[in-house]
Amino acid sequence: MTQLHLSDHRGVLIVVLAILVVVTLLARRTVGHPVLSRLRAVLPAWRFFDRAAPSPYLLIRWAAPGAAFGTWSPITGGSRGAACWAFAPQANLFLACQAAIEQLVAELADVDCGEPVTPDAPDTDPAITDRVSYDVVSRIARAYLPVASRGLSGIVYQWKLVVPGAAGHSDSLVSVELAA
């Protein structure tokens, strides 16, 4: 097999390295364009845990027909198996769901959500509820409804997206009532 001399293309390598450094640093900026954001895998930002901040999380509650809603409870992905260090389909699906939740939060950063009338008043602004990310989060909430709710007909559910902020203050978004 032919071995090329390093000196043949040392300059090219340096240029490639410099371009990659610049592209990587540029890729760390938040990409708002819908087409470019779909190509994030091609331009990796290598953004791993660089913001040590609490993540947004999803709470759900449900009600049988004619009954009042129960209490809010966080969605849980279940226990991790012993082989999760090698093969973790459910855990990675749960991480993908978390990424979808964070995407909705990122999208809503540019939307004026206003102050809710009451703490659990649903937000019905079409600028929020018409979003694809909103529907994805609704489906996540439905997928992680407690076992006790499954098999019952006519149940409804709601989700609450909580975004922890500084000094214990947190923002939240409550969905409309949804059919399970």
Binding site: R28, S37, F87, V136
Partner: protein, 261 residues
């Protein structure tokens, strides 16, 4: 390390990484069904402004049946990688990984999808033109991206007081979506352990470019890297990062040998 040996190890590692990625999604296929969490009838609304032909193609490829076919192609290509040296195989993995990432509105598993793409592009170039400059450039691309992945991540954490104090590590393992084991949360809730873990990680990530100094330094850093990825796989469940990052290591070893020859 010769180009041939490097390519062989890239193929073996890439086979495991790509097969695990495909199998995991096939395992949770209900989430991709029309009524599932990531059902195409919802996601396709992103394309409402796209040309009609593009929507038609997307409906074909990203529908439940379409994406199942993509996953089966990825799995079959991955399993064939170590046994068949046909250059089309890594490019099939590239195409399928890219399609899956696009369907998930960017990535399914964050950086692991990106690293899998990088490794498979390197392997595709190496197999497409063995011994050529393109083959070496592909390996250089993978090696540089590997170094950048650690270095950029480390440099970005360094200014954050939460990382320097170790508090970030404690906060990280307590994030509910990682579902870290109780023993890990208990251990990393101790300030001294968290600070030691944080500084070990920062030192490892920020010093990774030193791999180019000498092959023995590179080997030492890679051993640390294996430990780092094993720990993050066990504690945070980031299993795909273990497979994809270790797959890229032969590309770096090859170039470190070349630079120091």
């Amino acid at each position: 390390m010769t180009l041939g040996v490097t390519t062989t190890w890239l193929a073996r590692g890439g086979a495991v990484a790509a097969a695990v990625a495909a199998l995991e999604l096939l395992w949770v296929h209900r989430a991709l069904a029309d009524t599932g969490v990531f059902g195409w009838p919802v996601l396709r609304r992103d394309l409402v402004m796209a040309p009609r032909w593009l929507r038609a193609v997307a409906d074909c490829v990203f529908s439940y049946r379409g994406i199942m076919a993509v996953l089966v192609i990825q799995l079959a290509s991955a399993l064939a990688l170590p046994w068949l040296s046909h250059p089309a195989l890594p490019w099939l993995v590239v195409a399928s990984t890219l399609l899956i990432s696009i369907r998930f509105r960017g990535t399914y598993n964050g950086g692991s999808d990106a690293m899998l793409l990088i490794v498979m592009v390197a392997l595709g170039l190496a197999r497409g033109a063995p011994g050529s400059r393109a083959a070496e450039a592909g390996l250089a691309y993978a090696a540089v991206q590997l170094v950048l992945s650690y270095f950029v991540a480390g440099i970005a954490k360094l200014p954050d007081p939460a990382w320097r104090s170790g508090r970030a590590v404690t906060d990280l393992v307590r994030l509910p979506h990682y579902r870290a084991p109780a023993w890990a949360i208990a251990a990393l809730s101790r300030a001294s352990v968290a600070r030691t873990a944080a500084w070990s990680m920062l030192a490892f990530e920020c010093s990774f470019p030193l791999a180019f100094v000498h092959p023995s330094v590179c080997t030492g850093l890679m051993i640390c890297g294996v430990g780092f990825h094993l720990v993050t796989a066990i504690v945070l469940g980031l299993n795909r990062f273990l497979w994809t990052w270790l797959t890229a290591y032969p590309a770096l070893l090859y170039w470190v040998d070349r630079v120091n020859a």
